[in-house]
Symmetry: C2
Subunit: 349 residues, 2 copies
């Protein structure tokens, strides 16, 4: 399936539209605005999308499937991750109606659409496609550090925590590299990245023995490029996701890393008793553990200042640059160009 | 399924019998000798099992299923991991015959017996059970460092590489703790450990987002014990398996760790270009990354001296103790008692 064939997406956020609460919707709207015809959200219908997300100007927010219909969507993209990853309630009703009417569904949920007998039955009747973006299939290769000897230079985003801006940083870096004349590829490792780029593997869904192997396979796919920017996942110190993070680091063998942070992230997401360690310590630890397989340094920092007033945002970026001695930016606010020279120096491009 | 209900195991090693080449067979024979009636190995039939493994005295090695039959096995346990994890050739023929004759199969292969249509068909006809020990089912809990606050004291074996003796070290430590009067549990995290203890989760087979969650769940199951010894997996610096290792560390929140090593392990298994780092550096790195979630030290070392002459083995153990400043032993050769005082001091038991 090439998800980029769908050019008239209706994005379902139920009542959760927002930059963090509907992370998938926000990412797809930012990086594929030309392919989005409507957002379906009954709590935000009629409001201005740009004022809620900071992007997506001109895309209407409608209250339901019926209101989206005149815009002739060719797929319904699930833009949120409901609690527990289950389809339920009004949310489920909309998805079922869409499938019944022949609209294909693009989903990044842990719960697979194709395992839902009612949806499968409805889809068989209507001809709708059920696209489970998070399903890695039967991927079963163990990594053996083959990425280290690929000609493509590899840049990986890492973070002090999950949900902190690694995907957007990677996309902005790819854009900056391309504008600088480099033949650059974005390497998607999560469901939203895959929905944006149209390919990839959701590595948090791969069997743990093969997770680093999936990262290795992903960079092999772009080995003919000059440089690739790999979407990071989780954090090396997050109790739930650190294994995914380390698999990605050791599987992709980065030549340079960009650390992503957010100054108000005091504790780890969903694990309030685990404080986020000082960024300098996390940089040192990431470098040390990555370098067990392939020597690498963190060469820049991405500071997520979403929702923070302009003057304070600038101060935060300057503060992080000072503390770490590394170039820093909020790539969503200011672009990623300032990180490029350090990356090019590190990867010799 | 409680695998310990099977009390008359025939263990199939094809032509691969040996302490390393048939790791699963070796483990089950060492720790459940009373439940093994025969080893089936056409290259080693008639030879003395004890002289090959160093244990298993009196258990016959036979050439095929027909020769095992008079010993009335109640299950065929697959004792090796064939290349690629597939059932093929003579190996497959024996398994099919066994199933056709109603013998249940205990398998730890990545390839699930229950996904093999021929085996399923034969089993349905004969009433044989197909027991896929490595199948974690649909485990889907994310770890949130809940293990850290359990009353049970947690000891985890870690290693400088995979296949280095973490399971046997854990079993010998459990035995030593019990002999010292502690209410101790062994926590199996791999297929052989599960075959020995009759319960557990093969965490390398869990979806990576939930692997630490599986480790957390496992220690929750023994929370009423005084102490548990958790079977380690992989190595923090192995490019293929480091994610599994870190998930296990952060999911189980150990109060003490035992490092496992083998002095002739120069490069990582199956990744010859990746050297095994000095044990002192690996100890420091394990402590540092584990302590992100729960503060912990490596308090002892297990030195695998299998196949090494006695005098040299003693020297190796002494050398490691000197270099690390920690108590050291080969628990298979000398028992694990020498590691207990440091563990008890660390966990305050």
């Amino acid at each position: 399936m090439d998800l980029t064939n769908y050019k008239r997406l209706a994005i379902l956020t139920a009542d959760k539209l927002g930059p963090v609460s509907s992370k998938t919707a926000a990412g797809v709207i930012r990086y594929r605005p030309q392919d989005v015809v409507a957002v379906i959200d009954w709590a935000h219908a009629g409001r201005d999308l740009h004022s809620i997300l900071g992007w997506g100007r001109g895309i209407p927010i409608v209250a339901g499937l019926a209101e989206a219909k005149p815009l002739q969507p060719d797929a319904l993209l699930i833009g949120i991750a409901p609690m527990g990853g289950q389809l339920a309630g009004d949310f489920r009703t909309v998805v079922c109606h869409a499938v019944a009417e022949g609209l294909s569904i693009i989903s990044g949920l842990h719960t697979m659409l194709k395992d839902d007998p009612e949806l499968v039955r409805l889809a068989a009747r209507s001809g709708a496609q059920l696209l489970d973006v998070r399903d890695p299939g039967n991927f079963d290769q163990v990594a053996t550090a083959k990425a280290a000897i690929l000609p493509v230079k590899r840049v990986l985003t890492v973070g002090v925590d999950c949900a902190i801006g690694k995907m957007m940083t990677s996309l902005e870096l790819t854009d900056a590299a391309r504008r600088a004349g480099l033949d650059a590829a974005f390497v998607p490792t999560g469901q939203t990245g895959i929905m944006i780029a149209g390919w990839g593997i959701s590595i948090d869904r791969v069997i743990s023995d093969f997770t680093a192997g999936a990262a290795e396979w992903l960079v092999q796919q772009v080995s003919d490029k000059q440089i690739c920017i790999i979407e990071g996942q989780g954090s090396i110190e997050h109790p739930g996701y650190s294994g995914v993070t380390l698999s990605l680091i050791h599987g992709s063998c980065p030549d340079a890393m960009i650390m992503c942070t957010r100054l108000d992230r005091i504790a780890h997401r969903h694990v309030e008793q685990c404080p986020v360690t000082d960024i300098r310590k996390q940089i040192a630890l990431c470098e040390q553990i990555a370098s067990c397989v392939h020597p690498v340094k963190v060469v820049g920092v991405s500071v997520n200042t979403a929702g923070i007033p302009e003057e304070q945002a600038r101060q935060q970026v300057e503060q992080v640059a000072r503390e770490t001695g590394l170039p820093a930016t909020d790539p969503v606010r200011y672009g990623a160009d300032v990180l490029l020279p350090a990356i090019r120096a590190a990867v010799q491009l």
